[in-house]
Symmetry: D2
Subunit: 477 residues, 4 copies
């Protein structure tokens, strides 16, 4: 054998040819397989073998030695020959060996957390893919997020029902935050005899999924659990981007354009837009680079301050003086450290039902502060500040073509993984190719804007905005 196995030890071959392999210097992120804790599990005949669409068979199946390299960028002057192993992920796609008899599959699909363009497309494609490609007939939707497992009856889904769902925003299955009661959930899964779970949600949901997988393993249940990462913020690590993100950036252009028009149509006009982004500024960054109408953007990854040299207001003042108007775009999670908590707000519930911190309204705060500062500094001069919060108009729309295709591919890829007996994995694009990632890895990784790379430098050069970090640093902050 040409290369040593790793991670899963010497008995890597124990589940029907699904082996986690590495070449020297390649570390393959191993996936949990149902046979890991259910050694007697039998392989099943694969309907794809006879599908006219996956013919000739041999060319379509992905093997367990097909991998995607995590890193495609290298510095040949050193790192490449270093002893540090190159990370790789299992490639997604249909496996020759499957561990489910489609006639026995009872699949459950659940959507959790906030809305995101494409959720209905993912649901539709899971249903259509399971039904058309593998012949699964028992597919259920869980209503309203995790709590739906134990609060509502599952809804039987068919291709006919979901036929046009990809043209709708939101999620027909409904969603909610919180409601994660591990025992009740797994009890309900057993009660309904589900043996495939498809969980669509964000990082909180994925952390819940980790616990579900552990409990299922503990109970030694033959249930494959697959995650489809959903975050309009695009803050999930490892994967290239999450579904709905491109649509959200597209829609954000409308709000920015309106803010720009309002600003241009006034004397000393300020357009202020708050966009989504709890811990990351991806939407703000992409929307700014796409639109070119933004003068300054504020994201959670950078600190900023309002008054004084190099501060935001000095920048605004300078733009108004020179150009007559200014457009600011701020991520909802930006500036949380600098917004003063008043007496009243200090008693505010600090977490929402998903356990996410409840944000102070950075947009409203900026508007008020700017207005008051201007009145003090320029009592004789007009200022017109128009504040737009387009959040729900951005996230409640149907996915655009780019995202619809993404949702289709991710759903089908995920099905193949579950049918192959993988569990506790998440599917997503890695360097342009769909791969399977251990869910605990995804639940922890965070995709933040790298404020030291070119994109951010370009944003700054495009907007000419102050480098708050540097200025504040130099003042000894």
């Amino acid at each position: 054998m040409a290369f040593a196995t790793s991670n899963s030890g010497g008995d890597a071959n124990n589940h029907g040819g699904e082996t986690n392999l590495t070449v020297p210097n390649v570390k393959l992120q191993s996936l949990t397989h149902l046979t890991d804790y259910m050694p007697g599990l039998k392989t099943q005949p694969n309907p794809l073998d006879n599908s006219p669409f996956f013919h000739p068979i041999s060319e379509f199946y992905i093997s367990s030695s097909d991998v995607i390299m995590s890193n495609v960028i290298h510095d040949l002057s050193g790192e490449f020959s270093s002893p540090r192993p190159h990370l790789a992920y299992h490639r997604a796609g249909p496996r020759k060996t499957i561990y489910f008899d489609p006639g026995q599959v009872r699949a459950a699909i659940v959507t959790c957390g906030g809305l995101c363009p494409g959720m209905n497309t993912v649901i539709r494609e899971l249903v259509v893919g399971l039904w058309e490609q593998y012949g699964v007939r028992e597919i259920y939707g869980i209503r309203a997020g995790y709590r739906g497992f134990y609060s509502f009856e599952p809804l039987k889904l068919t291709p006919k029902m979901v036929h046009n769902w990809h043209k709708k925003g939101g999620t027909v299955l409904e969603t909610s935050r919180g409601g994660f009661d591990l025992q009740q959930i797994v009890d309900s899964i057993q009660h309904h005899a589900f043996n495939q779970l498809y969980i669509i949600g964000g990082d909180g949901t994925m952390r819940g999924m980790v616990k579900i997988c552990e409990e299922i393993k503990k109970r030694k249940l033959n249930i494959a659990v697959a995650g489809l990462p959903k975050t309009v913020d695009n803050d999930v690590g490892i994967i290239d981007r999450s579904f709905g993100f491109q649509t959200a950036v597209e829609m954000a252009q409308q709000a920015i354009s309106a803010a720009h028009t309002e600003a241009e149509s006034a004397v000393n006009g300020v357009g202020l837009v708050k966009l989504m982004g709890r811990s990351t500024g991806h939407i703000v960054l992409h929307a700014t680079l796409s639109s070119r109408d933004v003068d300054c953007c504020l994201i959670p990854e950078i600190d900023f301050y309002l008054e004084g040299k190099g501060g935001l207001f000095e920048f605004v003042e300078s733009r108004l003086k020179n150009i007559g108007h200014v457009v600011l775009v701020v991520a909802e999670g930006a500036g949380q450290d600098v917004i003063p908590k008043t007496g009243d707000q200090s008693h505010v519930q600090e977490k929402d039902e998903s356990g996410n911190p409840v944000f102070l309204d950075v947009g409203g705060w900026l508007k008020t502060e700017l207005k008051n500062w201007w009145k003090r500094e320029h009592p004789e001069e007009l200022i017109t500040i128009k504040y737009i919060d387009p959040t729900y108009m951005i996230r409640a729309v149907p996915a655009n073509a780019t995202d619809n295709l993404y949702c289709t591919l991710i759903a089908h890829s995920t099905i193949h993984g579950a049918m192959a007996g993988y569990t506790g994995f998440v599917c997503g694009p890695i360097n342009g190719n769909y791969g399977y990632i251990p869910v605990d890895e995804v639940a922890q990784a965070k995709n933040r804007v790298d404020v030291k790379n070119h994109k951010w430098a370009w944003v700054r050069s495009v907007t000419n905005q102050p480098d708050f970090v540097r200025c504040s640093d130099s003042t000894g902050k």
Copy 2:
């Protein structure tokens, strides 16, 4: 002569055939003409006489006896034969006799108040129409509303400059509220030797225009002043509708659709949209009837109450119980009487710079009240309320095709009126035809939703919403 003159007395023929006439039972709303106070004003050769496009001449000119009837609906059983006169307006369009030498015209265009789709189209068409049709070469834009007359230098406008303005939202000339200083404005008009003013604005602006006309008359200046009513709320009386309104209703669908999606995607989901409408509910009414996704709409023309039998919350509760979600749309001017003014708010500045009352945020108030009420009444049940205020995203867009055509026709119609020597008039569609209306009449008329006609009954039958008025009446409120 077949019928008696009226209104303007026996010397109605003194300005070149422009006579305000009435037939028996027809009362023609007379317009002010420059010759009314400048009797010696000379007629001028009309460039349209030689225009290849207005040929043969005789068929295109509108005469002063061409009128539009104000009322097209009659009850033949009585009213028609009554002695009450039928109101009529001068029809808009090119006049054979004009009182301006195009080579001597110095036209000024100003936009006042809030943004409205189509403002740039109106400006563009005024410029193109004056230039192309009459050969006027001195056309100026006044920046930033009324204050621009005395605060900024006028901007020379040419067809080339304005070529693509109709594809932009907002107003390239900029706008502002307030700044109405009568003497400074008229002084500036004289200083710049403007002799045609085109004023684009809402009812506040029109009241200012009335004063400008009086002052100009007092000073006996040869200046034609024409108004183009701009109100996204569609609250101007007499005219069929104002420009930008159709676009606003179209855009409002996006917000309603998003609210509907958010509501449908949650357990006990409530979508709440605040739309424009300071004193009228036209946008809410039209958006509701077009969209069909709205369960209840609240407009300034009706009172409503929250709690108790027949109240809003009872309705919401019933919808959530039966359908699982509810969509509410509220006009910004609704409910101002029932929103409690807290200690802090009582000191709030009560008028904005246009003199309009500053509204309490009915949307935010409803959201909070509903949330609190639900917690009290249903402490165990989830509720999800998503509140959308799409105001700027609705009003800052370019006009749609319907409104663009409207803007084109109104601008050209207005030019013809000014060239013909009319002043103190406003142009707008009356029963589908463009007419000239005395500005003081427009400044006072208010177009409110008639809550006793069919459209409102239809809204109620569509939404099945409570008749707050009746219920509260019956409880002796």
Copy 3:
């Protein structure tokens, strides 16, 4: 009694107070009423009497003496006092007296001819209006146009089924041309015991409806037949405009904009767009005035010629020389007289299944002719001609908000007329108000572009296009 009855003779009062009346000089277009040939027909209790939404009753009902004047524009100098009567139409709306017991109503809805935005909205609102307002429960859709009466089983419709139809283009009921077999249709109507017919179609369809009404009258059947004029071309007379027209104009902007971009992006770029308009140029006219990107438009109402002085090619050449590009928009029915029929084409079937003439492709012909002419005249110079035919992309979209509201109002208005016992009528807006019009009047009236009025002059002045008529006249053609 204050005025003489007309039209329907001395026994006009025989159907429950529905009288066709005239005042002196007012000619009211009388409608056929079921009691005209079924004298014993009984009135029925009106559910609206008890509707909470039409309360208080007295103010909502429309009486038979409520009329809309056909003409709102008058020349006070003569016509108004002339002995020629003023035409009036019955106003649409709920009647106090109805002739159908909702529990006995069996309504059928059929869509005929080509697609038009809003068809599904009309169907939806007919279903919802009959069901919600009057309590009708037997509502059927006829599939695929007139032939559907005898070729397919009717489809039972409920509010739940049609709930989202207004968001879809096309017609869920399907449509077709032709298939008009009078006896089979009326036999089928009797067979299914339908007593209310709602027919959605164009002028051909309306001519069929006239025959159906005659046959029903002949057979003395108690069946109310109502028409809802559908023509994306807006070529129906009497009414202000037809539904779907505003949406079509909006969508046409996309095609014009693309043609403009193609033309501007090339050396000697020509953008050529063919729009709908069999016998009228309304879409072309409105799209041109809204877009302002069009240099010349060709409509069926005017003749044109290609070569020679004052011809189209001279105009194109001049524009290319001066501006570098040119955009032409042509209605499909334009130029049919000047397109040469080649040997092959002469044997082409001259009528489609609706009996409409099959048009020669004026767009393709223009493209070829222009290209060949240019090659002859300017062999050294490039020309780039891009031809766009967006027909199906314009007509297959959902209605915009403006048209959706129109469809809602027209559907409800039509229901009220049928319930009131009127038959053989069509509903549409007349001077901004909905009225009932005898179907034979509508079937004959044609709304053509008046090339002698201002709008057309404006188009010409906007585009500066040649007056082909005049030029060709002067050359003695």
Copy 4:
């Protein structure tokens, strides 16, 4: 030194530290550098060193040893350890060492070939990037493609001029096909003293660029030539995708949706859409997978036949029988081998001015053939075929947000390469990262749909369409 150099031999270090390096088993695609044939060329101070936006410097510069791996997918069971080298490309981005003094740069930008969304964004960003980031002040647009070099005066470009170009479709610089006269072009470049060329075009344009580079090298001119691949078909090899492609797929949904609506609204309704794709079916493939309304798609990569078992018409017939309607989407380059050339067409000019073959109209042909076949086979039954060719409406629109960002990044990346002294290179995304590729490699590589991979299998499973290849093979065709 840790690894051997390759490709450029032992003197790789001769241009200021820019060395093409390889590690063992890595083959780095070497780029031509101006110093390759101008050994004395001096490095210049880099304005980015002092840019506040690229600070701290050290982290932003890309070195010549930074590479992108061409292949991220590996089969660990064999290939990875094979002796075949892994292909790598230089990573794009700002270089510390530059070879142009910005004050001496005279840059020329030219757009060639057909329109594609994003061309104006690329131009805008080249201008803004050169101006803002490096301080270049002499930037010129070449009108109308290659012929513009010698036929028109260059147009001076400034950031102010191009400010809003990214919101416009097409190319403000104009474009054309053909006109490639090598000597005249290079003479003109010398005449105008351009020393940076930015060429935006497709594969034909890139082949022209190869010749220009050779000629420039032959004349030993200090001119950096950079290409930005533009192809709405997405048929350029090596790079992930080309700009404008996502926008085109988005717009194609409109046409497919219209075709679907037309098909659903008729008895035996057939919607037929022709999309762009001369030699590749990418747009068809992506539009189909995104829309899900397509029943069968035909692309250049697969053969198909109409009649007989397993043929297209059998498929259409079966769909009409079972579902009642069918939607077909065909790429313009599909079926060119099976369309019969009639006597007339055989004399048709076989190449357009770019040297591309002129396609037979596969859409029109399919429509006619299907209609005739149906008449023969089903003389009694209706069929309705609606054919849509949305080409210009797809390609003449502004880029969407996704493509606008792409255009921004590619333009800036390209500038950095040119400033660094690279020439004869093309910039594009490789596995999600921007890299520089030798132009001759790009000019030859073709990105075709791999009909043996999963995406195509998915299309077939989605549409259930026949496998024409297999069937025809089995019949011994």
